[in-house]
């Protein structure tokens, strides 16, 4: 397991930050990001897939009122892939009876999808060797978040009450030697330390957080990050080639 991994550093793997606006479609945007990244890693092709197709063609109807990552993957399997974002652009609302899946050419498809073990080391290993993973977290602390590494406890962020899906794109350890209080010097200095973290891609626009991303503490199941780690498989396991996540 490498000490750090950041798929953003490999060009063409992580698509631009999306903006879900008034549509509760984080689950569809996280899924789209997962497929785009895996497609880029496996086939060296930059694709942006249609989130709107996931919303319009989902079996559960109005995808702007919420959904699950696993339902998005089932939609991709049922439709034999996804059209491009350019052909079938995001509208921010849903026309459940207007599924246009058959109208456009598919630009990416998946073989199946899996849920990983609820273990942060397993998740890190899979992330580093296979690619980005969708996770579903409790988003409570994100409402006031600006930047830095969030270190939550079950009391401040219930790991069972997960309600927001995002894409896990990397991990690392903070280089700052000392916590925020030590850096600011406003109160008692903390002992020197580095904090292990996850890097997550959100779907609230690039203006939010750390240019659309945020970091969560790694190793404490912060905000329930291990509850639903799901990822597509874009290739048959037997054909797998080793990939390398840039440090």
């Amino acid at each position: 397991l490498p000490s750090s991994c950041d798929w953003r550093r490999l060009k063409g793997i992580i698509s631009p930050i999306r903006q879900q606006e008034n549509c509760n479609c984080c689950w569809a945007m996280a899924t789209a990001g997962n497929i785009e990244a895996l497609w880029g890693i496996r086939y060296n092709q930059v694709v942006q897939v249609s989130v709107q197709e996931l919303l319009d063609c989902g079996r559960c109807g109005d995808g702007c009122r919420g959904g699950f990552v696993w339902d998005a993957f089932i939609t991709v399997l049922n439709n034999s892939g996804l059209a491009s974002e350019r052909d079938y652009p995001f509208q921010g609302d849903v026309k459940p009876h207007k599924c246009l899946a058959k109208k456009y050419k598919k630009v990416a498809w998946i073989q199946d999808f899996i849920m990983l073990q609820d273990n942060e080391k397993t998740i890190a290993r899979y992330l580093a060797t296979e690619g980005p993973i969708t996770v579903t977290i409790n988003m409570k602390l994100l409402q006031q978040y600006q930047k830095g590494v969030i270190k939550a406890t079950p009391a401040t962020c219930d790991p069972q009450a997960v309600d927001h899906s995002v894409l896990l794109v990397g991990f690392g350890r903070s280089k700052s030697v000392g916590g925020r209080r030590a850096e600011g010097g406003a109160s008692q200095p903390h002992p020197r330390r580095s904090i292990p973290y996850w890097i997550l891609k959100n779907s609230w626009g690039a203006e939010w957080g750390e240019e659309g991303y945020f970091r969560l503490h790694r190793g404490s199941n912060a905000c329930g990050i291990t509850k639903y780690p799901l990822t597509a498989r874009v290739d048959l396991p037997v054909k797998k080639r080793p990939v390398s996540c840039p440090p």
């Binding site: 509760n24 988003m139 409402q143 830095g148 969030i150 903070s174 925020r180 904090i195």
Partner: protein, 104 residues
């Protein structure tokens, strides 16, 4: 005393000034004075909560004004979470082939 004539230096912004800056930055307007007052109250509570998080947090995270600072926690959850998760999530941990799962 002699201190009275000294320049007090930069003063912290009043809550309403901070709220006005928030409205400008995130292009927010409210339909009537009652709604404005309600949002200002929510904004103040959220700022206080952000300060509390800063005090409690053991990481390096900074909390403060965000695009969601005029929303209650419930509104934020409804607008940006996935509501279907609010109910009981389906069982995903069941082993394939176990007695519980029935047919494959």
């Amino acid at each position: 005393g002699s201190l009275r004539n000294k320049d007090p230096g930069p003063q912290p912004l009043e809550l309403k000034q901070v709220f006005m800056l928030f409205q400008i930055q995130y292009n927010r307007s409210y339909s009537n004075p009652e709604e404005y007052a309600r949002r200002l109250d929510i904004f103040a509570r959220n700022l206080a909560h952000a300060q509390q998080l800063e005090a409690e947090d053991l990481g390096t995270a900074e909390f403060g004004v965000t695009p969601f600072s005029d929303l209650t926690e419930e509104e934020f959850g409804q607008l940006y979470g996935h509501q279907r998760m609010a109910g009981e999530a389906p069982s995903m941990g069941r082993k394939v082939g176990s007695e519980e799962s029935g047919e494959s």
